[in-house]
Amino acid sequence: MNIPFPDLTPVLPEIILAAVASLVLLVELVAVRKGPIGGIGIAVALFLLYLLPYTHGETFGGTFVSDAYSDWFKIIFLGNLIMTTLASFQYIQRQHQDFGEYYSVLMFATCGAMIMASSRDLITLYVGLELMALSTFILTAMKRHDWWSNEAAIKYFMLGAFSSAILLYGFALLYGLTTSTDIRQIGAHIATTGPNPALLLSLVLIIAGFAFKIGAVPFHMWVPDVYEGAPTSVTLFMSVGPKAAGFAAIGRVFYEGLGALQPDWTTFFIILSILSMAVGNIVALVQKNIKRMLAYSAISHAGYALLGIVAGTTEGLTAMMNYLLIYAFMNIGAFCVVITMDCRNDLDDYNGLAKNHPLLAAVMLIFMFSLTGIPPTAGFIGKFNVFMAAVHAGYTWLVLIAIIFSAISAFFYLHVVMNMYMKPGAVRVRVEGFPTVLAALLIAVLAVCVIGVVPSVALR
């Protein structure tokens, strides 16, 4: 049997990233100053990506595909990697977790996410997912001697392992019923046979597995604890990366593979979406810690992005992709502000910030209004886009529910603004605005403003 050597150009970004990540891991073992190596490695990887030929197409027997859809998500993942790196440099030194592995594990996680976005086969998808998940577990535990960080990592690992098992069980059932792991062949098979109870069971299991990754209710229990316990730079990374990867996989599996079962899975996603918006926004109201608040906010944003999936149209898929890009910028921005504040991350630490650091407060104000979805910020454009898709698909009632929770969310986002602008500062919190994180902030705030005013520059 003569297996032809696969075409490597579509998979080049992943190869480069994995190779550079391994190299960084090795070099850092012997390096004296570890700080710059990760950054240099990521810069080299990006430069190579820019330099080397990269084509659309499928490879490895159709199990791996790179197209406009996967490109979009890869841009989000790589952007997330860049922003996380910028935000990490001095932060991880301050936190005494400047370990050599940090940047290479970040790269491995990004690589896993990229494989997920590109996989058209359940096995490939699972491999990408596990690479990403295991890397994120490690990142969460990066503060080795910190009790919270370890607890968060254990929780994340246990629940993550369960969810992976559930997902795998769903995949196994699907394989048993359709005799294939290729997503397109599964789609073709289901189109001819139609739904049956076993298929629906596998559907439920797969949805549960992915819902865990995107942090949708009722599979959200890990989110607040892990977001709070993990180092903030890691929280930043995983509030965008794994979530977007989960959505990428959902789009691929459900639109390409399980399109014939759309009426069935739509119901589940509607439930997930409503629950996420409800629980995320309502529980966020009573949070005292900003990282926990942003965790619940992340849960609710998964709910909004799910509206695009619920719409079930190409328009909806596009809206979901746009939403995730916008969410990435505003969420990264908000976490960058959290990183610059050297404190316990209580909401009260933000009291009177506008007086001492007017510029930082103004930037945070923009991110908070963007997360609320007030024009002329990007957050509004994102919400508008998913709402538009959902209304067009006939889910006006769902959009009505979404806007009610959107209005509720204004309350806790404005709480931050209120603390910053309208309350006197009690204790002066130390603000450490080192250059790289300020650069990340600048990028994020520019993106949020520019996308808000001229969305056509960035959106599909």
Partner: protein, 545 residues
């Protein structure tokens, strides 16, 4: 330490000169462009965009000024707002009164994928509000001159941002653009109330924000439904020519009603207004009462009525009922107020009830009276809030019981306040009379009961305003008031004089203002009158000929 501070201040001083130059160049350039356009025909320039973006860029420029230059910030805010006002004057002089069509149109593609355009234009309904916004902003800048001492930079930036977005709302002919301006205003307004407001400001600010946001979001859903029902278009003029099915019209009417009724505010959703108006700084109250709440009624005129004419006809009695409730309820509550600002705030509920009564009377007198009364209310209530702000700056109390005998202490102030009080009551010769008279004529034509009940509102209005005037300015002088500064200074008199002129101008000769809206109002009413009737086919018309 002091040497170090000195070193940091020095470069800021150097930096301020180019910024000052840029700030002056902004309005001067705009005015020069205008003069060039008018008198030499050299440049044709986008009139409405200038009005919207001059204040916004002015706000950005003020944000860039060094923190210590508070005087420069005030002067530049005054400069920018005055330039905007001067530039808005051609809207009054060059407005074509004979047509109902949109004028000063600007139109370019904005977000092509969603068929969103940057589409501006004004007609007889919106033109007066643009002028009112530009005028009131100058007065707001002036009245805050000494009242705002903390975070001066942010204050004037917020004020100018509000001005830009308000003008944007009145000029937008694309529904998406309209919504952007409509919502964008929330952010600076929230900050304005919450940072510089009274003791209960945080509560008032969040209440204002949440009420408005919920209403607006319901409108957003309505906008989306409308977008698809119109065949993927946000163009308001196209929507005005589309006939939607009746059930859809009614649903959409309620969705838009939610946004506009909160802003007006109409009876059941008015509770944010007393808090917001009372706690806001003077400039905030003037903007809120003068223009912001007009946007609600303007929304009814611009969107609800022409877009959903059948639903309007069906729901008009309900709207009349809500208006009458607001008139009487607001007026009665005024009688029980102990706080100066709160009283004026509740009187706004009552006065805006008149406005909606006129609008939903659906006849020429009513609608014209409603629009004129909106302008009047902006002038008079704006002036009353300005007056209260001026006296508060001296006495630092808003309790009516703390006053008394103010007429002997501040005679000039008392005279101004008298005129505005009488205008608020609607004394003939003042602008309030013209507006309320037209509204009541229209109201009686639409429903005798609504007209009669509305008229009682005027009587109660006279009662509470005269009672207020007596308590504050006459009776025995409160000894606590003596020694709280002198009468109005030149800046304050200059702030009030333009409004005083307008009170009498509109009161004695309203034709220039009514004439502006004539054609547009006629077109609007024809659209409503012809709604629901089967369209006359081309052949039938030919037979008639």
């Amino acid at each position: 330490m002091s040497g170090h501070e000195h070193a940091t201040v020095e470069p800021q001083n150097d930096l301020s000169y180019p910024i000052l130059a840029a700030l002056l160049a902004l309005p001067v350039g705009a005015v020069a462009m205008f003069i060039g356009h008018q008198y030499a025909g050299l440049i044709s320039y986008p009139m409405l965009s200038t009005l919207i973006f001059l204040p916004i860029f002015g706000a950005v420029a003020i944000m860039l000024l060094p923190k210590c230059k508070t005087g420069l910030m005030r002067w530049s805010a005054l400069c920018v707002s005055t330039a905007t006002f001067i530039l808005s004057l051609p809207l009054f002089t060059h407005f074509d009164r004979s047509t109902a069509a949109m004028q000063f149109i600007e139109r370019t593609d904005w977000i092509h994928a969603w068929r969103i355009q940057y589409y501006l234009g004004i007609d007889g309904i919106s033109v007066l509000f643009v002028l009112l916004s530009t005028l009131l902003t100058i007065l707001c800048v002036m009245v805050s001159w000494t009242a705002i001492t903390d975070k001066v930079k942010e204050f004037y930036a917020a004020l100018l941002l509000i001005e830009g977005s308000m003008i944007g709302v009145f000029c937008s002919l694309d529904l998406f653009l309209f919504y952007i301006f409509w919502e964008a205003m929330l952010i600076p307004m929230y900050i304005l109330i919450g940072v510089w407001g009274g003791p209960n400001r945080i509560y008032a600010a969040i209440k204002f924000f949440l009420f408005t946001l919920v209403g607006s979001l319901l409108m957003l859903v309505g906008i989306l439904v409308l977008f698809f029902a119109t065949g993927r278009s946000f163009d308001i003029l196209v929507m005005m020519k589309t006939n939607y099915p009746l059930t859809m019209q009614i649903w959409l009417f309620w969705a838009f009603f939610a946004a506009f009724a909160v802003k007006v505010p109409m009876f059941p959703v008015h509770t944010w207004l007393p808090d917001a108006h009372t706690e806001a700084p003077t400039a905030g109250s003037v903007i809120l009462a003068g223009i912001l709440i007009k946007m609600g009624a303007y929304g009814f005129l611009r969107l609800n009525m022409p877009l959903f004419p059948e639903a309007t006809k069906i729901l008009a009695p309900f709207m009349l009922a809500l208006s009458v409730i607001a008139i009487i309820y607001g007026a009665v509550i005024c009688l029980a107020q102990t706080d100066l600002k709160r009283l004026i705030a509740y009187s706004s509920v009552s006065h805006m009830g008149f406005v909606t009564l006129g609008i939903f009377a659906l006849n020429t007198q009513g609608v014209q009276g409603g629009i004129l009364q909106m302008v009047n209310h902006g002038i008079v209530t704006g002036a009353l809030f300005l007056c209260i702000g001026m006296i508060y700056e001296r006495t630092h109390t808003r309790r009516i019981a703390d006053y008394g005998g103010a007429a002997t202490l501040f005679p000039v102030f008392a005279t101004f306040f008298m005129v505005f009080t009488l205008a608020s009551i609607g004394l003939p010769g003042t602008n309030g009379f013209v507006g309320e008279f037209l509204i009541l004529v229209g109201g009686f034509k639409a429903s005798v009961l609504a007209g009669a009940l509305g008229a009682t509102g005027i009587i109660i209005g006279a009662a509470y305003m005269l009672w207020l005037y007596q308590k504050v300015f006459f009776v025995d002088a409160n000894p606590g008031l003596v020694g709280h500064g002198s009468d109005l200074n030149v800046r304050e008199v200059l702030t009030l004089i333009p409004l005083l002129i307008l009170v009498f101008w509109i009161g004695c000769y309203p034709n220039p203002f009514l004439g502006m809206m004539d054609a547009s109002v006629q077109q609007l009413l024809e659209r409503i009158a012809s709604a629901g009737q089967p369209p006359v086919s081309q052949t039938a018309l030919e037979v008639l000929k």
